[in-house]
């Protein structure tokens, strides 16, 4: 077809959308928006005053920190403890050299990881059965189901409402300092978190297979086992691994309130101005968290 004879495409007529009518509600809304913005700005300024934000204080305080910075830049990498004269300190009981900062901290770091492992495992074991009771699609339609749903939901909400650090302070008070109160704190808080995630996964399953399994005449337990569990299991595993990941970091913090692990020593070193040892502590935490982070994301990818 000869193109020269073709008409150039007509420019399309400009479309002017019909005017949107401006109602009283629109005007009120605009007024409200500006009022809220102004109020927020006032609150923001008040927040800077209340928190005593002051760049000068920050800079002048920086001078005192020179020694701290020097210590932090020279971590204590000793494998055995030495006295002021550089002599190896021997244990009075065994006669062996006393372990230095590095072995002590590695041992505490190990305790931290073990705490997170036990805490996470306990929470998975407990939230797994409970989460089925907290799933709306499994509990609606009967009075006992409704009661179970609402009470388990309530328990999950309460457990989640307490930050682990508060739980740890309470448990240290109850059972004394050490890793055990830390494990309890992690487990309780994680039950609330995992229970919510698990039950939401259950609520979003495809109901067609569930219906099909019900139609075989299976009991309710087996309907859940055959129809629902295969659908949610990969998510359950992924959530649990992710929770473990979070709990490792969390258990470091818990040590500060006396709940075992490396956080306990970190707190002590800082209080005693032993910044060289604190620096070693930071490094070990950094390395451990990085390795575990790689490990858990590798695992999670595998599960996907």
């Amino acid at each position: 077809m000869p193109t020269s004879e073709q008409q150039p495409p007509q420019p399309a007529a400009r479309i002017i959308p019909p005017q949107k009518p401006r109602t009283l509600r629109d005007s009120l809304w605009t007024g409200l928006k500006w009022t809220l913005t102004a109020l927020f700005l006032v609150y923001l300024i008040a927040s800077f005053q209340r928190t005593e934000f002051n760049l000068y204080t920050l800079i002048s305080g920086g001078k005192d920190i020179k020694r701290v910075m020097y210590d932090l830049a020279h971590p204590d990498f000793s494998w055995v403890e030495r006295d002021a004269g550089g002599e190896v300190v021997l244990s009075r009981k065994t006669g062996q050299p006393k372990p230095g900062t590095v072995p002590v901290l590695l041992d505490e770091m190990n305790e931290t990881v073990m705490m997170s492992l036990v805490g996470t495992l306990l929470s998975v074991l407990l939230s797994f059965p409970l989460s089925f009771l907290a799933a709306r699609n499994l509990t609606k339609g009967s009075v006992s189901g409704q009661i179970a749903y609402n009470s388990v939901r309530f328990i999950f909400n309460v457990l989640r409402a307490f930050p682990p650090i508060i739980l740890a302070i309470i448990f240290v008070f109850m059972v004394g300092p050490g890793p055990f109160p830390g494990v309890l704190a992690l487990a309780l808080h994680s039950i609330g978190m995992l229970g919510k995630l698990f039950s939401e996964a259950i609520e979003s399953v495809d109901l067609a297979p569930v219906e099909a399994v019900r139609a075989t005449g299976a009991s309710n337990n087996l309907i859940v086992w055959f129809g629902i569990l295969p659908q949610v299991l990969p998510q359950f595993v992924a959530f649990s691994l992710y929770r473990w990941d979070i709990n490792i970091r969390m258990s470091i913090i818990l040590g500060i309130v006396g709940a075992g692990g490396i956080g306990f020593l970190l707190d002590q070193y800082i209080r005693l101005f032993q910044y060289q040892k604190a620096s070693t502590c930071f490094l070990i935490i950094l390395v451990a968290v990085t390795i575990l982070d790689w490990g858990s994301s590798w695992l999670r990818e595998r599960m996907g």
Binding site: D206, A208, P209, E211, A212, V213, R214, A215, T216, G217, A218, S219, N221, L222, I223, W225, F226, G227, P230, Q231, L233, P234
Partner: protein
Amino acid sequence: MSDAVFQTTGLGLTYPDGTRALDSVDFHIRPGEVVSVIGRSGAGKSTLLRCLNGLLVPTDGSVQFRGKEVHSTPEHARRVRRSVGMIFQSFGLVPRVSVLNNVLIGRAGQVGLWRGLFYHWTDEEKQLALRCLSRVEILEQWHKRPRELSGGQQQRVAIARALCQQPAVLLADEPVSALDPATARVVLDHAVRICREDGIAMIANLHSVSLAKEYGDRIVAFRQGRVFFEGLPAELTDEVLREIYGEHYADF
């Protein structure tokens, strides 16, 4: 009609929201019979099947399975379901579970809790499941996951699962609506052939009138929750079809 597998008299069902889905339905099916159920969307076909296998409790009338009231107790309704296989438009296979285990889940009503929890099947059960798979000609896929199969293959696995129950009746709720016409025939051929071989009665809800006529010994048509027509495929005239599907019915 004392030999009927299923027999309903004056069956009525009103959903909690007030929808009257079934109204004075008298329906029966004899052993080994294949009945096609047709009717416009919302006529009550799915509701009927769910009343028959006890998943829905009727608000009026009675549903009997082999002469005994299905809904006498919830336990009895469950017992009835064990002898009633069911297949669905969306197949309803359990994801991430192998084809063989999906078929074995058909035994879920028969096994105890502990054997079920550990997927611990007896050798006979495994042999039965494999035989069901081979009868729908899909044995070589036994190790795959459902999502690796085509729609037609998935529905054949669902048929095998229903057969694994060794049912007296097969209920099929729009079994081929999600499939292309050629695949639809393959799937229906398998289901109807096996039902005839084993003397299993079959009730199939179908949207295609031609398939309904072709595969059914008898046709039951629903309109607004009531049985509007019942008879041989040859008796289902264009006149009747227009009454069922409205003026715009063109031979489909």
